[in-house]
Amino acid sequence: MTAYYLARLQFALTIGFHIVFPASSIGLASYLAVLEAMWLRTKREAYLDAYRFWLKIFAIVFGIGVVSGIVMGYELGLNWSGYTNKVGAILGPLLTYETMTAFFLEAGFLGVMLFGMKKVGPRLHFAATCAVAVGTHISAFWILAGNSWMQTPQGYRIVDGRFVPTDWLAIIFNPSMPFRFVHMMGAAYLSVALMVGAVGAWHVARDRKNDVARLMLSMALWLVLFAAPAQIVAGDAQGDNTLRYQPQKVAAMEGDWTQPAPGAGEPLVLFAIPHMKTERNSATIEIPRVASWYLTHTWAGTIKGLREFAKNDIPYVPIVFFAFRVMVGLGVLMLCYALLGGFLRWRGKLYDTRWFLRIAVAMGPAGYLALLAGWTVTETGRQPYTVYGVLRTLNSVSPVGAPGVAGSLAAFVVVYAIVFGGAMTFLLRLMAKPPEHGEPDVPQVPVRSAGITPGPAGAVPTLPGAAE
């Protein structure tokens, strides 16, 4: 195993671990903002109870997102200094804007959001929640601008082997950026909605009168009902964009090695095992012409096959191919789930259909799995390049030897396993606790005003079970 593969493996592990948490932060912060807005408007306690329930989960998710994000900011320079040295002048400013416009905003107001309800009052507290929610979106904007630029680079020239910016608007609003942004936001909302729906369904199944749980399930299903079809449309649009700018990625997604004869149409490959050596598939199950319909929006269109590209210009096909099927398959399941939920709601049986509640629980992780599969498609599909068509991944690594990268990879695996284990334990424990009225928030402690006079020793009363 060379340092190159170890560095890639490490990046896949750390970014895969990381992305789950900011995606959850995007969705949860928006959900919390909606809940608090509804509470302020209607004064219905269930909204506040749901808010407090998910706030505890948000705190954990956000914290892990922060620390795993710090890793990403430094890992680039540690393992990929060839890349950072060449693209720093372009991607660095985007990430710095992300830090300045989003991270500080989120971190600055997160404290108020978590601890400040009693100190600033409900309206200002709501403003803090909104600031955090807006921050998560700004963050996504910049990071997706950066990632999209790596997929569809423009607005630069190369001087002495380094990328030099020539047009910032072209860099930020590069051709794949709007599509990727919309698709990723949809993924974040869907992931969180499915999780919220699962938790709601779990508690409705145990106590169908629990109106906080019913609220969660109901809100989640409304969102999925609109977002799942929208996400499919957005994904199709991003696919068209990818076909235009990164044709070999689409060919790999489709498992298409050779272009069919003109007019023959592209088959939809339901299943196959792609082989890199022989450049063909085995065990293929396909439906004729269907792929033409969603790729070219005709029944006869064809796309370039993988063999028409240089051998060292195509990604490792099996990963792209299978990850794409996982993502699309989960997307179809989400659509069915949303329609089923809509139908049951229309019939007034949403909270009483036990088999549906079980499905809702099972769909809990579906959004996250689809999200990870989708990122696998787009990132692995960009290989063998870091900056598509310009900078090869092989020329992006650091001059760090395999033992160093292997050692740090092992350390990351161990620490991430501990953190992930802890996170799952505590998150599932919080989710399994039924949401109830008067969801505990701030214990009633007399808060001393700002004082520079010292209190007498031992003046603070000991609170039994404080901070539980």
Partner: protein
């Protein structure tokens, strides 16, 4: 030489240095609280300590992100050389920050033995992160071997007696910041104990500052020229005088039971050390060879980012100050959402 590119290179070096200093003075105290954590045996005291930094710690750590990505953006060469050179140290720092960061939440959720382990992770992570940051400081000061714009040294270049002393100095210094923070934010017996710790820690911190300062000029001829010959000495001679004056203020603040002057004095010490570091290094970014100007990103990157930074950084400072203001006063346990 003094064209716009050079000016902006210097401005950006200053802004990134400001970000790193902001990180040190802010995360310094919350890492320090972590280092002191296991000394307190009572659950109650530990909860107070965590709650004193819980609302602000991730804002503090955001400055570390700013320093990192700012360096990446504005000095890609510096970033691409320094990080691989300090590879094992930075990996250790990142892992330590992860364990410590999640402990904030996990320790409240864990029960029984689990809680002890997350408390230990909080303390251990804070200590390792602080030590690693000291090693980074020492490793950068003593110089990085670069060939063809890439790190060309070995695995263990960063490990020398000098860097280890720097590491210890940062751990002790952060602990001092942590104890001074707790003097300000807590009361009663916990505050009293930290006043005692702070006095001893200040003495050790001062001693280590002197050791590091005396050793630094011998690392590199530029440093000794800067510190001991004209005109550098104009800039450098006030530094030790100010350090001594602030030390006296710190002692007075501790003896007279001031609430926040000890923290202010300890932070000023850090700022002065940082200024001294800047005086030594300028115009180098990566000693001994790479200057700020050589490492700088192209002009269009600098102007694009400075336009935003000029507007946004003051706003960031304003709302972060506001967040600190909201959580002013003495901390009570259990004032969270847990």
């Amino acid at each position: 030489m003094w064209d716009l590119h050079a000016v902006l290179s210097l401005v950006w070096a200053g802004l990134i240095a400001f970000g790193v200093l902001a990180y040190v003075v802010l995360d310094g105290f919350d890492l320090g609280v972590g280092i002191l954590f296991l000394i307190e045996r009572e659950r109650y005291d530990r909860d107070v300590m965590v709650n004193s930094v819980a609302p602000v710690w991730d804002g503090n750590e955001t400055w570390l992100v700013f320093g990192g990505v700012g360096l990446y953006a504005m000095f890609p060469l510096g970033y691409s050389v320094i990080l691989p050179a300090l590879y094992p140290v930075l990996i250790a720092m990142l892992l330590a920050l992860i364990l410590r960061g999640v402990s904030f939440e996990f320790r409240f959720r864990a029960t029984g033995a689990g809680q002890f382990w997350w408390d230990a992770a909080f303390c251990g992570g804070s200590t390792v992160a602080a030590f690693a940051q000291g090693l980074v400081l020492g490793g950068l000061l003593q110089g990085i071997h670069v060939v063809n714009d890439a790190y060309a040294g070995g695995w263990w270049d960063w490990l020398t007696p000098f860097t280890v002393v720097c590491g210890i100095a940062v751990v002790i210094g952060y602990t001092l910041l942590g104890s001074c923070w707790l003097i300000w934010r807590t009361e009663g017996a916990l505050q009293h104990r930290n006043r005692l710790y702070a006095g001893r820690l200040a003495a050790v911190t001062l001693a280590l500052m002197v050791v590091v300062s005396l050793a630094t000029p011998f690392l590199h001829p530029q440093y000794s020229r800067r510190w001991f010959s004209w005109p550098g000495i104009l800039l450098t001679s006030p530094v030790p005088v100010l350090v001594a004056a602030i030390g006296l203020m710190l002692r007075r603040g501790l003896r007279q039971n001031h609430q926040w002057t000890p923290l202010l004095c300890a932070e000023l010490w850090f700022a002065l050390c940082f200024a001294g570091l800047g005086i030594s290094l300028y115009p180098l970014m990566v000693p001994p060879d790479i200057t700020i100007y050589q490492a700088a990103a192209p002009l269009l990157s600098q102007t694009f980012l400075i336009a935003g930074a000029a507007v946004i950084i003051p706003i960031i400072l304003a709302y972060n100050a506001y967040a600190y203001w909201i959580f002013r006063g003495k901390v009570q346990p259990g004032t969270g959402y847990h």
